[in-house]
């Protein structure tokens, strides 16, 4: 018979463990719970925290290492109360001024650099951020999934190539096998017949296959394939969709645009003003990298390259020599006879960068997304609607304006106003 003793013992153990664990929690200065991936409400809060963290904290903090400010992991253990931590985040100077011992300690430990005040963050939001810092993995699945998706997507591309190769190999193998079998059977057949006393004409395999007729057909097919290939190859000459060369600095758009949410225009300053979006010089890199001295993937190695190009001495924290040119490998190469103007497309046309450059925010290595072929340009010009109503310049097209008003014309495309004519792009 079973007694209830063991059950009691187990229960007791659970209670002890629970109480121990609880008591451990109660000893911690700021209570930040763990969140399980299955806890929907908790995950929501973690996600909210992640968003806030990325928007407000990443410029100076990382979770697991010191950047400008200290590493944030374990911050809940370092502060004595939630109220003080929140007060620090909302306005650290005030807390320091109040003479709080730990606040002054942190301030002094970090070269007396004042942490930006975030009065807009509520106590609850600060706690959400802490929740994320403690449980970063919980908010990640979506991202990991996306990354995996990406990997699979590129993977499939590769696999597709590979599987095609396998299929062709398989077909060839089967064809050879079929031929061999056929040859064997025909030889056996011949042997059997000869045994039976029949005289059999000696038709070899090669003669059967490579007679004049098949030769002609093969030649024809071969020539067609050759011409087709040459034609396609000629069209593709000078085109380089998917081109993703190694760059002198392993700059990641995924990190800067995707993770850190930096606007494209912050670096590509010309995009609304000029024909060139322009690749930023080190003077723009250094706006942030004076402070951000370590990257998440390559540590200090790649950022040190920027310092070298910029002539910046991180120890002395000043520019010590003239900047050197970073020789980026140019990815988007339009032929010389094409005039392209970024400001026309971005400022006037309101085209998103991603339309032509793809999901740059996900590119670890920059690549050419669009084919940049004339057909690709023209297609877009045929389909894209001109911002006719918003821009007074287009008042010069009176006929279209009337037709739009009357409703006889649904939309005016770039092509309608001459956007596919030679000298819009070639001069």
């Amino acid at each position: 018979m079973y007694s209830c003793k063991p059950i009691r013992k187990i229960l007791a153990l659970i209670v002890i463990i629970l109480s121990l664990s609880l008591s451990k929690t109660s000893f911690a200065a700021v209570a930040v719970p763990d969140v399980a991936a299955t806890d929907a409400a908790g995950v929501e809060k973690v996600k909210a925290g992640m968003a806030l963290y990325k928007a407000n904290c990443t410029a100076c903090h990382a979770i697991d290492r010191k950047v400008v400010g200290p590493a944030l992991a374990g911050v809940w253990d370092r502060w004595e109360s939630e109220a003080k931590l929140v007060a620090w985040v909302q306005n650290s100077s005030k807390l320091i001024a109040s003479g709080d011992a730990y606040a002054n300690k942190v301030f002094n430990e970090n070269n007396k650099s004042v942490m930006t005040a975030f009065p807009q963050l509520s106590a609850e939001q600060v706690m959400d951020i802490l929740l994320y810092i403690k449980n970063p993995g919980v908010a990640e699945p979506a991202k990991t999934a996306a990354a995996t998706d990406g990997a699979t997507a590129t993977g499939t591309g590769d696999t597709k190539g590979t599987s095609n190769w396998y299929i062709w190999a398989l077909i060839t193998f089967l064809a050879v096998l079929a031929l061999l079998l056929w040859s064997v059977t025909s030889k056996l057949d011949k042997a059997v017949r000869e045994k039976a006393g029949e005289t059999v004409e000696d038709v070899t395999l090669d003669k059967k296959i490579f007679n004049k007729k098949t030769f002609k057909v093969l030649m024809l097919i071969g020539s067609i394939l050759l011409v087709f290939n040459i034609f396609n190859g000629a069209i593709d000459l000078g085109r380089s969709q998917g081109y993703a060369p190694d760059q002198p600095i392993k700059f990641s758009h995924a990190l800067h645009v995707g993770q850190n949410q930096i606007e494209c225009q912050y670096c590509h300053t010309g995009v609304e003003k000029s024909k060139h979006a322009s690749i930023p010089g080190t003077q723009i890199c250094m706006n942030c990298h004076k402070y951000v001295q370590q990257g998440p993937k390559y540590g200090k190695e790649e950022i040190a390259k920027i310092y070298n190009y910029a002539g910046w001495d991180p120890d002395k924290a000043k520019f010590v020599e003239a900047p050197k040119n970073i020789e980026w490998v140019k990815i988007h190469n339009l032929p010389d006879h094409v005039y392209f103007n970024h400001s026309q497309h971005v400022k006037v046309g309101g085209i998103k960068c991603q339309t032509c450059h793809g999901k740059v925010e996900e590119y670890e290595v920059m690549k050419q997304f669009a084919p940049l072929s004339m057909g690709w340009c023209i297609n877009c010009h045929r389909q894209t609607e001109v911002k006719f109503a918003e821009n007074k310049y287009y008042s010069v097209f009176q006929k279209y304006q009337e037709e739009l008003k009357k409703g006889t014309k649904a939309k005016v495309t770039v092509e309608d106003i001459g956007g596919t004519e030679c000298q819009k792009c070639h001069y």
């Binding site: 000078g238 520019f319 040119n325 140019k330 190469n333």
Partner: protein, 1031 residues
């Protein structure tokens, strides 16, 4: 409707068979002139070889990897205060162009920090936004690879520290020993250079400063010393004068401040319906000048007769003096007519002479004084600082140098071994001197003998203040850092004088002191002050007349006139290929000087068939016992009988690759008469050699012809190409000279091409252009501006000879009337952007087609080079790239070999990385084998539209200016939207009775309207119909 016969060349006038054959042809040469099998040219085997090669190269090329391009960011050194530059956007800097005689307030267009184009500064009260051919081309001189990259000692590379130390030590030695130092300069209109010279003289008091001009106006200053009491050159208000009488004065082309004067002149030469009045211009001249070609009446006189003509005129207008009849009847009649008109316009007329002769200038002053033209028209309140050279000082210096009086010679930008009559004296003196320094930017004819060359910076790299007239200043600011290790000459002088203030700081302080404001604002505007418009005292007539020497001139033989051409000027621009290739407005010759002979001489010598094949006869011309051998002979209509004319500024030996050995140097034949350099010589003989010379001549091809077989047109001799009338007829009828237009519209309402509907331009833009033939003086600034803006290549002398020049815009020059003294008409001719364009229909690959904005588009990369379009273009404005002129071919440099500008098949100046910096990055360079032509500056249209779109507003009229329009100082060219009924172009098209379209009866529906040329003549001149001038 004009019934005049217009001709462009002697061949056409005589209608030689050669001419007829050539006029019908598209290209004026045999394509394979040497390329026959006998000459070792192409045969079947070569063809197969070439084909095999092409196939293998193509295969190889396709197997190659695509080349890796680099993207270099625009990096800013954050340690310095550097202005923000947005790559792809142009930045304009106000600056000043100045070359001793010409002055222009300009804007320098820079892209990514490099100057690529000069535009006029429209804010300027002095030049009002006009530019000249020289100013337009000057940006190319910045990138001249012939410039010295560093200071030199005895033509060996050195550095500034060494050079300065050595020069200062030698100067000190010379000055301490009391040795004399000669500082030879050109005209100094720069207050900075003046200041530097003063400092230098203060430090080295034994210095003598001598300024001279290669082509001098010293006599004017000397005469004004007597007439006005000071050696000044007054400004002249050509815009206010009702009657202008020029005596050998080329005030439109090459005279003092010609840009400013051209603008003033043209402003009173365009009558309108509401204000049908214009000035009348008489010109007495020996050879045809630009000013002369624009005159209403011309009277050929010999140079030796000019003084007597002026004496006669003075006597006729009521002054003292005795008249003596001149040799030509025309001239005698002219004096009487001119005198009558001058008397009727007292105080509203002007007589000018360009002759560097004190007596002549005194007589001119006396006439103007008698007529009361001072004050209102001749403005002595604002006088020129330009052309302030002193011929007497130069002659004295030459004498002293001969005697070895100078121990030190410093040439401040002067090149006396080339451009004075004292070449040998200077050469010897420089070689013997203890110290010889030149600040030339290259080792030129004089600098090569100097111990030290301290190369000057280009003006686009310099700081300066230039004062062209009293009370007006133009500021020069650097638009790029020094390309080479050079230093501004003023800075060099200051250094040697012991003042080491950086020149930039010094000029900034001077500007602040001058304007009393922040120098940055002043420099941004580019100028300071307003020149006085009228005023000053009149001339002392009695003193002027009294000072005229008694006439005792007896001349013999041919009289030779040395003149200046609008392109290379006095020779300072000889190494600028844009200017070398700019056709002379009158003779239409490029890359050469030559001897101009009068038509009567041609008749006498039987020079009948010349320019169609461009092989002109040559002659030996003997002047003062020295013979110039094998000068090409050009028949110049309108040149006075018994005269010859040869241009100065050619025959440079040390100018650089483009300018060396082009033509002959004539400075040696000028001479100093009574201390004044004379540019006319008598007693010359000319002898035809029987040889021929291949002259790079334009205008005898690309001939516009009308279809004389059309029913309404009998033989009208270009009556529908150039239209002209007289002011009297225009006053009666605003359609004068253009009467046939209504009829043309009626009769030729159908297209040449059945079923070919003109495009529908009811909405959007429809670009159009107007060209006012009255405002156009033919100066050629537009031609150079077009070339610079659109990367139009320079092709070199040989290719121009083969009629393969690439100019998108040319100025056709037509003569009509008496060949001994014809009328001249200029007609800028560019793609007419026809709505029924004959070129478009014949292109087999649709490389040229029409845009919805009315542009005749040219897609270079679609063009396969059939040249059908060029063949079918009635205006002959399409140009074919026979060679790779700009290194645009995919396979790189095809034109290897010898690449001199003058005699090789092609040249490679645009292959140099440095020179390529001048290219406009918004316009593609065309490769070999494609057609190109005027695009109406489509890149500017697109830019203007984009700016309007970005600002969300309609495009304004006048916002988009073509390069030719922006460059034109007289406003002859207007560009705009025909659909905008308020635009200047639409208004001219719709309401101006003078407007017509060239070859309109063919119904090409061109988009360029021309306005009938109006001459201010009393009566329609005698019509001159000749089929064969058997004379």
């Amino acid at each position: 409707m004009s019934n005049k016969k217009y001709w462009t060349s002697l061949d056409e006038l005589n209608e030689t068979p050669q001419y007829k054959e050539q006029a019908a042809k598209e290209f004026n040469f045999e394509i394979n002139e040497n390329d026959t099998e006998e000459n070792g040219g192409t045969n079947r085997r070569d063809f197969l070889k070439a084909m095999g090669f092409s196939v293998s190269v193509a295969a190889l090329a396709s197997a190659c990897k695509i080349p890796t391009h680099k993207a270099i960011p625009y990096t800013i050194d954050l340690r310095k205060a550097v202005p923000e530059v947005t790559p792809g956007l142009a930045v304009y800097f106000a600056s000043t162009f100045y070359d001793g005689s010409e002055f222009a307030n300009i804007l320098v267009k820079t892209r990514e920090g490099r100057p690529i184009k000069i535009e006029g500064n429209t804010e300027s009260p002095f030049t009002l936004g006009g530019t000249s051919a020289k100013a337009q081309a000057s940006v190319l001189s910045l990138y001249d690879v012939s410039r010295l990259p560093n200071p030199t000692i005895k033509n060996k590379k050195s550095d500034w520290k060494t050079v300065d130390a050595e020069i200062i030590s030698k100067l000190d030695t010379i000055a301490k020993s009391g040795g004399k130092i000669a500082l030879v300069t050109g005209t100094v209109a720069s207050t900075i250079t003046k200041n530097a010279i003063e400092k230098f003289v203060a430090k080295y008091p034994t210095t003598t400063v001598v300024s001279y001009d290669a082509i001098s106006s010293y006599a004017t200053r000397k005469a004004n010393q007597i007439s006005l009491g000071s050696p000044v050159i007054p400004t002249i208000n050509y815009d206010k004068a009702e009657v202008i009488v020029g005596f050998n004065a080329d005030f439109l082309g090459t005279g003092i401040s010609s840009l400013e004067n051209t603008r003033k002149y043209a402003s009173n030469r365009v009558p309108t319906k509401d204000k049908p009045k214009m000035s009348r211009h008489h010109q007495f001249q020996s050879t045809m000048t630009l000013a002369g070609s624009n005159a209403d009446y011309r009277y050929p006189i010999k140079p030796s007769e000019e003084k007597q003509a002026l004496i006669n005129l003075l006597a006729t207008v009521g002054g003292s003096g005795t008249s003596k009849p001149l040799s030509g009847k025309d001239a005698n009649d002219g004096i009487a007519k001119v005198a009558k008109e001058l008397l009727a316009n007292k105080g509203k007329s002007v007589v000018v002479s360009g002759t560097n002769d004190v007596d002549i200038q005194l007589l001119v002053n006396a006439i103007n004084g008698t007529l009361g033209n001072y004050g209102e028209i001749i403005n002595t309140a604002a006088t020129y600082n330009l052309k302030s050279g002193n011929d007497e000082a130069l002659a004295t210096l030459a004498n002293d140098l001969k005697a070895g009086a100078y121990k030190g010679i410093i040439l401040l930008g002067a090149n006396p071994v080339y451009n004075t009559p004292f070449a040998d004296i200077f050469k010897n003196a420089i070689q013997k001197a203890e110290l010889s320094v030149s600040t030339a930017d290259r080792a030129d004819e004089s600098a090569q003998y100097c111990q030290y060359i301290t190369p000057d910076s280009h003006y686009l790299e310099s700081w300066d203040i230039i004062s062209p007239v009293t009370g007006f200043y133009g500021f020069v600011q650097p638009t790029i850092v020094n390309l080479f290790d050079t230093r501004q000459s003023a800075s060099s002088l200051m250094t040697w004088a012991g003042d080491t203030t950086p020149i930039g700081k010094f000029v900034q302080n001077e500007i602040t002191a001058l304007t009393g404001a922040n120098y940055e604002a002043a420099v941004q505007l580019g100028f300071y002050g307003t020149p006085a418009l009228t005023g000053g005292s009149g001339a002392n007539v009695a003193a002027s007349v009294a000072a005229v020497k008694a006439d005792g001139v007896a001349t013999k033989g041919f009289e030779v006139v040395f003149y200046e051409k609008i392109g290379v000027g006095d020779g300072g621009y000889a190494n600028n290929p844009f200017l070398q290739e700019l056709p002379d407005p009158i003779s239409k010759v490029t890359w050469d000087n030559y001897v101009c002979v009068p038509f009567s001489f041609a008749k006498e010598k039987g020079i009948e068939s010349q320019p169609a094949d461009k092989k002109v006869p040559t002659a030996n011309v003997t002047i003062n016992g020295k013979t110039i051998k094998d000068l090409p002979v050009v028949v110049q209509f309108g040149q006075a009988a018994g005269t010859l004319a040869i241009a100065l500024g050619y025959g440079r030996e040390k100018a650089g690759r483009a300018g060396d050995m082009v033509g002959k140097n004539m400075y040696a034949y000028t001479k100093s008469v009574n201390g004044v350099t004379s540019y006319t010589v008598d007693g010359a003989t000319i002898e035809l050699t029987g040889n021929t010379y291949e002259l790079a001549l334009n205008q005898t091809y690309h001939t516009l012809m009308e279809d004389n077989n059309l029913p309404m047109r009998e033989k009208k001799y270009r009556g529908s190409i150039v239209k002209e009338t007289t002011l009297e007829e225009y006053k009666k009828n605003e359609h004068a000279g253009n009467e046939d237009r209504e009829k043309i519209k009626e009769e030729f309402s159908n297209s040449l091409y059945d079923g070919y509907k003109p495009h529908d331009y009811k909405q959007g833009h429809h670009w159009g252009m107007t060209v006012d033939l009255n405002a156009c003086v033919g100066c050629g600034a537009c031609v150079v501006a077009c070339s610079v803006e659109n990367n139009v290549p320079v092709v070199g002398k040989r290719q121009v000879y083969r009629s393969q020049e690439m100019h998108w815009l040319r100025i056709d020059r037509y003569y009509n009337g008496n060949p001994d003294n014809p009328d001249v008409a200029f007609q800028p001719m560019m793609c007419q952007h026809c709505n029924n364009a004959p070129c478009e229909n014949v292109c087999p690959v649709n490389a040229t087609n029409h845009s919805s904005e009315g542009l005749n588009q040219m897609a270079y990369n679609r063009c396969i080079g059939t040249r059908y379009c060029a063949n079918n273009c009635p205006y002959k404005v399409r140009r074919f790239n026979w060679l790779d002129y700009q290194g645009a071919d995919s396979f790189g440099k095809f034109n290897d070999g010898k690449r001199s500008f003058t005699d090789s098949e092609s040249q490679d100046y645009m292959f140099e990385d440095l020179t390529r910096m001048v290219l406009n990055p918004d316009v593609v360079t065309r490769s070999r084998g494609v057609i190109e032509k005027c695009s109406f500056c489509v890149q500017r249209i697109q830019e203007g539209k984009l700016t309007a779109k970005k600002e969300g507003r309609p495009l304004k009229d006048g916002e988009v200016k073509t390069a030719c329009q922006a460059a034109c100082t007289t406003g002859a060219i207007t560009f705009g939207d025909q659909n905008n009924k308020e635009s200047a172009v639409a208004k001219t098209f719709d309401t101006d009775g003078r407007n017509y379209f060239v070859l309109e009866e063919q119904h090409f529906l061109s988009a360029v309207g021309y306005q009938v040329k109006i001459r201010n003549k009393d009566e329609e001149p005698a019509r001159f119909f000749i089929n064969k001038p058997g004379v």
